[in-house]
C-alpha cells in the first residue's frame, strides 16, 4: 500500500470533521472519495498532506508514519496535492508557479525534464509562461494547479475537486489527463463532487457522509449501487 489512513479523527475547534476515517490506496491505482459538500473529503486530503493535524489516528505513506510530519516535508517525500479552489499564485507568472512546484526538488538536473513532462500534458501552459497566473481562465488555472503539483514528480497525487467550475468539455479533458498521468505511473487519490466522472476513472471508491466512510468498493460496483445512484448520480432508483 502506498497510502493507508487508519482511524483518522480531525477536528476544527470543537467540531469533529472526520470520525475514524480509514481507507487505503495501492500503488498505481486511481481511488476516489466521493460525497456531498462538507462530508470531509477535503479535510481527508488536508490531513494526508499535513495542512491540518489529526486529533488521533494515523496516516501511513509506504512504511512511514507521516501523521505528524510537517507539510513541506511530506511534499519532499513524494505526495503532491492540488488543493480545492486550485490556489494558484495569482501574483506570480505561470513559469514562476511551475518553479514553485519544483521548490522541493533536490535534483535540479531533472528540472527541465519535469517542465517537459508538464508541457506534454498541458501544452497550453507553455504558451502562457510569462503571463500572470491570475489572468488565466478557469480551465487553464486548473491545468496550472495540476502542472504545478506534477513539477515535484510526486508518486502519489491528491486531487481536490479538479472539475469544479469547469465546462463539461473541460471536465472531460481534465479527466482524460488524470488517467494519462496515472498511466505514466502516478498513483491518484481523487476527491470529487462529480461522482459520475470520478466513478468512471477510478478503480475503487469510498463514500463519505458527515465525516464517516459509509460505503466502499470497486468503482464499477458503486456505480450500480442504488444508494449511490440516488444520492450522488442523480438517478431515480
Amino acid at each position: 500500500m502506498i497510502l493507508q489512513v487508519k482511524d483518522l479523527n480531525v477536528a476544527y475547534g470543537s467540531i469533529l470533521a472526520l470520525h475514524g476515517v480509514a481507507f487505503e490506496v495501492a500503488e498505481g491505482e486511481i481511488v476516489t472519495l466521493i460525497g456531498a459538500n462538507g462530508a470531509g473529503k477535503s479535510t481527508s486530503l488536508r490531513a494526508i498532506s499535513g495542512l491540518v493535524r489529526a486529533r488521533s489516528g494515523q496516516v501511513m505513506y509506504h512504511d512511514a508514519d507521516i501523521t505528524r510530519t510537517p507539510a513541506h516535508r511530506i511534499v519532499q517525500m513524494g505526495i503532491g496535492h492540488v488543493p480545492e479552489g486550485r490556489k494558484i499564485f495569482a501574483n506570480l507568472t505561470v513559469a514562476e508557479n511551475l518553479e514553485m512546484g519544483a521548490y522541493a526538488r533536490a535534483d535540479r538536473g531533472s528540472l527541465q525534464a519535469a517542465f517537459d513532462r508538464v508541457f506534454k500534458s498541458f501544452p497550453r501552459l507553455k504558451e502562457r509562461l510569462k503571463q500572470n497566473a491570475g489572468t488565466l481562465s478557469g480551465g487553464e488555472q486548473q491545468m496550472l494547479a495540476m502542472g504545478r503539483a506534477l513539477m515535484s514528480t510526486p508518486k502519489l497525487l491528491l486531487l481536490d475537486e479538479p472539475s469544479m467550475g469547469l465546462s463539461p468539455i473541460l471536465v472531460q479533458e481534465i479527466f482524460s489527463i488524470i488517467q494519462e498521468i496515472n498511466r505514466q505511473g502516478t498513483t491518484v487519490l481523487l476527491v470529487e463532487q462529480n461522482a459520475y466522472m470520478a466513478l468512471q476513472v477510478a478503480s475503487r471508491a469510498y463514500v463519505l457522509e458527515t465525516g464517516r466512510i459509509v460505503l466502499s468498493g470497486p468503482a464499477a460496483e458503486l456505480r450500480e449501487n442504488p444508494r449511490v445512484r440516488a444520492a450522488y448520480l442523480g438517478q431515480a432508483v
Binding site: A71, V75, Q76, P83, I88, F89, A90, L92, A104, S152
Partner: protein
C-alpha cells in the same frame, strides 16, 4: 526657488530613510498580515549598534553598517520567533498587542543604564562632511551617501524578491500559506527570512538616519517608525513599490510642511494623511483593491 530645491533634496534624503523602514512594515504585513510595531525600535537598535561599534569598539564605519544590519536581522528573527509565532493562529489583535509589548520592551530595555542608557548621545561623524555649492543648491556628501546606499539596498531587495528562489517563495507565501506549504516551502523559514530582511534594512536606515541627524536615544525609533508606517499605508500596505513611493512622499511632506507651514505641525500633517488614506482609499496608492485575502 533655490531654497525650495534645497528643501526638496532634504525631503528626498529623509524619504529614502523612511523607505528603508517602510519596506520592513510592508513585507512583514504582506507575509503574515501583521503590523510589526516593534519595527521602529529595530531601526533604533541599528543606529545604536553602529554607534557602539564605531565609538566603543573602534570599528571602521564600513564594517559597522553591515554588522549592525546582521545583528538587527537576528533580532528581527528572534522577535518573530518569541513574540509572534506562538500567536500565529490566534486572533490578530493578540499579535498586534504583542507587537506593542515588544516595542515598549525594546525602548525601555534599551534605556537601562547597562544597555544603551536613557540619554541622548551625539553620533560622531564617520567622515568629514563636505558641502558642494551648485549655484546656490547645496548638496552634501552625506546626502550622496544616503542616496547611493539606499539605491543599492533597494536594487538588491528588488533582485532578491523578483529573481531568487527564496524571493519567489516569499511572494508565494504572501499569497497563500497553505498553497506554499504544498509546494514544499517551509513557511516558517520564509517568515523568518522576511523578518531578517526587513530588520536589516531598518538597521541600515537607522545608521543613515543617525549620520544625517547625529543624535540618538532609545526612543528615536518611534516617530520615524510611525512616519514609515504611514508611508507604507499611503503606498498600499503589502506592496513593495508602494512602500518606496509612499516613503518618498512622506519625506517631502515632512520637510516641506516644516519649512513652509509650521515645524510644530509637521507630525500632525503627516498623520492627517494617514487618517485620510484610511478613510478615503485604505488600499493605498499602489495597493491591491478589493477585499483583503486572509
Amino acid at each position: 526657488m533655490i531654497e525650495a530645491i534645497n528643501q526638496v533634496l532634504n525631503g528626498l534624503q529623509l524619504g529614502l530613510v523612511y523607505a528603508l523602514i517602510a519596506l520592513g512594515y510592508t513585507m512583514v504585513y504582506g507575509i503574515i498580515r501583521l503590523i510589526n510595531f516593534a519595527h521602529g525600535d529595530v531601526f533604533m537598535v541599528g543606529a545604536f549598534i553602529a554607534f557602539i561599534s564605531t565609538v566603543n569598539w573602534h570599528l571602521p564605519f564600513y564594517i559597522a553598517v553591515p554588522l549592525s544590519m546582521l545583528i538587527c536581522a537576528a533580532l528581527g528573527v528572534i522577535i518573530e520567533r518569541l513574540a509572534y509565532r506562538p500567536l500565529r493562529y490566534a486572533a490578530r489583535i493578540a499579535a498586534l498587542i504583542s507587537a506593542i509589548g515588544v516595542s515598549l520592551l525594546i525602548e525601555y530595555g534599551g534605556s537601562l543604564k547597562f544597555v544603551f542608557g536613557p540619554n541622548y548621545r551625539v553620533v560622531p561623524q564617520p567622515f568629514s562632511v563636505v558641502q558642494w555649492d551648485l549655484s546656490g543648491i547645496s548638496v552634501s556628501n552625506i546626502q550622496v551617501i544616503v542616496l547611493v546606499t539606499v539605491v543599492i539596498l533597494l536594487a538588491g531587495l528588488q533582485y532578491l524578491v523578483a529573481r531568487t528562489k527564496t524571493g519567489k517563495a516569499m511572494r508565494a507565501v504572501s499569497f497563500d500559506h497553505d498553497a506554499a506549504r504544498l509546494m514544499g516551502i517551509n513557511v516558517d523559514a520564509i517568515i523568518s527570512y522576511t523578518f531578517a530582511l526587513g530588520s536589516a534594512l531598518a538597521a541600515a536606515g537607522g545608521v543613515l538616519y543617525s549620520v544625517a541627524y547625529p543624535q540618538i536615544n532609545p526612543f528615536m525609533g518611534i516617530m520615524p517608525g510611525l512616519k514609515a508606517f504611514t508611508a507604507a499605508v499611503l503606498g498600499g500596505i503589502g506592496s513593495i513599490p508602494g512602500a518606496m513611493l509612499g516613503a518618498l512622499i512622506m519625506g517631502q511632506v515632512d520637510v516641506l510642511s516644516a519649512a513652509y507651514i509650521s515645524s510644530q505641525l509637521r507630525d500632525a500633517i503627516a498623520f492627517t494623511i494617514l487618517i485620510l488614506v484610511l478613510l478615503v482609499k485604505p488600499s493605498g496608492l499602489l495597493g491591491k483593491t478589493g477585499p483583503e485575502k486572509v
